[in-house]
């Protein structure tokens, strides 16, 4: 309450509330910015392991960021990591589903004109993003082997392994991100480690 002699202008309370809301927004935006900056790279790598395509992995990360902001920015910041990775997982699955449908459509139309079909020179051209034979030789064999082994893991095992090892989430957070029990996470993770150890034994 203002004291005697203190002049309170009409609307001053409203202005204070608006100012407070703006400060709160700036604080939340800065917090969200820090969170996204921290997860964007591991998130991209995790999506790329699942999709094996950089552009689609970037699309998935961008979608996940936008959905987190639109739906869950009001939630406490400590809930953001599992929510974000849950959303990212759904975005990856959506892209994989679209890819399956697209491939079926292409296969269907491809069959119909198979006899007189012209060669797709662009489609058959080597992907310039793929390293050539010389560069491939220069790449670290051990890292290549690890990437291939992780890519070939079953989806749930890969998800559990990457969330725990790349993002550093604990079992409880991984379980929330994957939408399953902590026991399932332990099982998926243990099987992933067992498989990787078998496949990478000579390199690692």
């Amino acid at each position: 309450m203002p004291g005697h002699g203190e002049l309170t202008l009409p609307g001053a309370g409203l202005r204070r509330r608006v100012h407070g809301a703006e400060e709160s927004l700036l604080h939340q935006a800065a917090q969200m910015e820090r969170f996204l900056a921290g997860v964007e790279r591991p998130a991209f790598c995790i999506a790329r392991y699942s999709l094996r395509d950089e552009d689609e992995a970037l699309d998935a990360v961008q979608d996940a960021m936008l959905k987190l902001v639109r739906r869950y920015s009001q939630r406490p910041a400590e809930e953001w990591p599992p929510l974000f990775y849950r959303i990212l997982s759904n975005c990856v699955r959506d892209i994989q589903r679209r890819r399956v449908v697209r491939n079926r459509v292409i296969a269907w139309f491809g069959r119909s004109d198979a006899p007189g079909r012209e060669r797709d020179i662009i489609g058959e051209a080597p992907d310039i993003r793929e390293p050539g034979p010389e560069k491939q030789q220069q790449l670290d064999d051990a890292m290549c082997a690890l990437q291939q082994a992780v890519e070939n893991l079953p989806a749930r095992q890969r998800e559990a392994f990457l969330l725990r090892q790349m993002e550093g989430m604990d079992v409880a957070g991984t379980a929330r991100a994957m939408g399953c029990s902590q026991g399932s996470v332990k099982t998926h993770y243990s099987r992933a480690i067992h498989t990787l150890r078998e496949r990478l034994g000579e390199h690692w």
Binding site: L25, E40, P42, E54, Q165, V171, Y189, I193
Partner: protein
């Protein structure tokens, strides 16, 4: 961190390699991730103050309409047939508030007499 159970050396080495890999993304990918992040944070501003952004175009349209109305408004009123200019209410107010108005009131009798003389002539 995945420290619920003690990690084997194998897990530690693999985890370290994966984290290093995520830190060594090329500049183009880092830039695209950064743009995606900025777009998402911008969305946060739009979400918190949706009305402000919604009213901005409306306010701009109203201001533009007011300017157009002023530009397209008819010219000031022409003098009435008896030769005197019709005075708009706002102009009335200006005249009343002007300093000269006191003199007008003081010499009111003189101006009445002058008007009568002009009417007769």
């Amino acid at each position: 961190m995945a420290s619920d159970n003690a990690q084997s050396d194998f897990e530690k080495r693999v985890g370290q390699a994966l984290r290093e890999q995520s830190e060594q993304l090329d500049a183009a990918t880092r830039s695209r991730l950064s743009r995606a992040r900025s777009a998402a944070v911008e969305e946060l501003h739009d979400k918190r103050f949706p009305l402000r952004n919604r009213w901005l175009p409306l306010g701009a349209a109203a201001a533009a309409a007011a300017v157009m109305a002023l530009l397209l408004a008819p010219n000031p009123p022409a003098p009435v047939p008896d030769g005197r200019t019709r005075i708009e209410p706002l102009e009335d107010l200006d005249i009343v508030l002007a300093e000269d108005s006191l003199e007008l009131i003081e010499d009111w009798e003189f101006y009445r007499w002058l008007e009568d003389v002009q009417d007769v002539s």
